[in-house]
């Protein structure tokens, strides 16, 4: 929970990479994904709710203003609360490979976090397309999603390292089998 809230703060300092199709590091999503694979389902769902709720508070747009007689076709934006469901779906995806993570193979989780971020962005794009109509998928949009997923995924080992450190500090096991832990410590 502390890490999720810290991620929201750090996210404010992370600008878009204008040279890479306005891609960015989605730290909040990454922290959630890494945390989702280390906790049980109820805690994952609680984190999904908190992350989705705060993320929508961060990014939801105001409704269209102006005279409805002039602006007859208002452009819809994403509804507040949709991210909660997307975070939940991503969390379930990550928990699908929890057995591998428990065997100490965190690399699969890191790779899956990149895939999950891409799917998250694709889902957001499809929802926008659905509510606004007219399917327009430009090369720039695909590259933006791909670069964002890649940049975010590259930071996943750091987040896992922080999670391991926090669990050690709290003397809490995040379910790595003893033989793997011994091998890591050696």
């Amino acid at each position: 929970m502390f890490l999720v809230l810290a991620a929201f703060v750090v996210q404010q300092f992370l600008p878009a990479f204008t040279g890479f199709h306005h891609s960015r590091i989605l730290l909040v999503q990454l922290v959630f994904l890494c945390a989702a694979v280390t906790v049980g389902q109820p805690v994952m769902l609680l984190l999904a709710f908190i992350c989705g709720f705060l993320w929508d508070a961060h990014s939801t747009l105001s409704p269209d203003g102006g005279d409805p007689a002039v602006y007859t076709q208002p452009v819809e934006a994403l509804r507040f609360g949709y991210s909660i469901l997307l975070f939940g779906a991503m969390g379930f995806l990550m928990q699908g490979i929890q057995p591998l993570f428990q065997q100490g193979k965190w690399q699969f989780s890191a790779l899956l976090s990149g895939i999950a971020i891409f799917l998250y962005l694709a889902a957001e794009f499809l929802i926008i397309t659905f509510v606004r109509g007219g399917f327009v998928l430009s090369q720039a949009t695909v590259l933006q999603m791909a670069w964002t997923s890649l940049f975010t995924m590259l930071f996943s080992p750091v987040i896992f390292w922080i999670l391991f450190k926090i669990s050690d500090l709290c003397q809490h096991s995040i379910h790595i089998t003893p033989d793997k832990r011994r091998r890591r410590n050696r």
């Binding site: 929201f8 703060v9 404010q12 300092f13 600008p15 878009a16 204008t18 199709h21 306005h22 960015r24 989605l26 049980g40 389902q41 109820p42 769902l45 609680l46 999904a48 709710f49 989705g52 709720f53 705060l54 929508d56 508070a57 961060h58 990014s59 939801t60 747009l61 105001s62 409704p63 269209d64 203003g65 102006g66 005279d67 002039v70 602006y71 076709q73 208002p74 452009v75 934006a77 994403l78 509804r79 507040f80 609360g81 949709y82 909660i84 469901l85 939940g88 962005l121 957001e124 794009f125 926008i128 397309t129 606004r132 007219g134 327009v136 998928l137 430009s138 720039a140 949009t141 933006q144």
Partner: protein, 268 residues
């Protein structure tokens, strides 16, 4: 599924439905609380971004900036003269309206603000400025630069505001084409954010006679934007079976937004 997990899942779904069914005012309140909480970090983040951008710009364009500064200084002088003239005309106009027994004479004033962050979210074309409610800014207020219309205020806090840029699909403006009777709705296009994106002017007449280079201005209809603000120039026209659409190159260089002006609608 374990009973405890099932209960957690049902609670999660109930929470999601609760969030999805919040009314707009409630969402605004939630956002207000959120931005109040992260405001100190937003300021630091913006300052960091501004410093980094300024440093890079200085390194790359120090000579260009000097030359630009000279041009801008000259332009400021010229604009001051124009502004004085406009103020005189505005005064004269107000007096004439009064003379014509209009109940209210409307005046407009602006607040200058610096762009501190660009595109803080993934999909929306927005920018943040360092002026907010403290300086009389409210939601839906138009934002201009010396090149033309930049967008409108999306949300505002005590000392900060977010601007929904004209390049966003959601920012719609009632527009007219100079020298023609053509009137339509101008907005940004989805997935265009590199360089100078093109805008789309919709709902023009089927046989709209437009030429590339013709200027597009606000009509003043719709209750948000004042009339005769420059939006851009016609790039090309696409004729359809029912109506025509035009692609418009914005007059504002959105990649290089520095100082903007928020128009305060003030009744006198």
């Amino acid at each position: 599924m374990k009973p405890f997990n099932l209960i957690a899942f049902l609670l999660f779904l109930a929470g999601a439905v609760w969030a999805l069914t919040r009314s707009e005012p409630t969402v605004r309140e939630i956002q207000k609380a959120y931005f109040s909480a992260v405001s100190p970090f937003l300021k630091s983040g913006s300052a960091l971004e501004t410093r980094a951008r300024t440093f890079l710009d200085e390194v790359r364009h120090s000579k260009e900036l000097e030359a630009e500064l000279e041009v801008v200084s000259g332009e400021v002088g010229r604009l001051r003269i124009i502004e004085t003239r406009i103020r005189d005309l505005e005064k004269e106009n107000a007096q004439m309206r009064h003379a014509l027994e209009f109940k209210k004479a409307t005046q407009f004033d602006v607040v200058a603000a610096l762009v501190t962050r660009r595109q803080p979210t993934t999909w929306w074309q927005t920018a943040e400025i360092d002026a907010g409610q403290e300086r009389g800014i409210g939601t839906q207020f138009p934002v201009l630069s010396n090149e033309g219309l930049v967008g409108k205020i999306d949300w505002t806090d005590k000392g900060r505001s977010s601007v929904l840029l004209l390049t966003d699909e959601k920012c719609q403006v009632s527009a007219k084409v100079e020298g023609t009777p053509e009137v339509g709705i101008l907005s940004g296009q989805r997935g265009q954010f590199m360089g100078k994106p093109l805008l789309r002017l919709k709902f023009l007449s089927k046989n709209a006679e437009l030429r590339p280079g013709q200027r597009v201005f606000t009509t003043g209809r719709g209750g948000i934007f004042q009339p005769n603000i420059l939006l851009g120039t016609i790039e090309s026209v696409e004729k359809g079976a029912m109506d025509s659409e035009a692609l418009v190159r914005p007059s504002v260089n959105f990649a290089d937004l520095g100082t903007v002006f928020v128009v305060l609608a003030r009744e006198s």
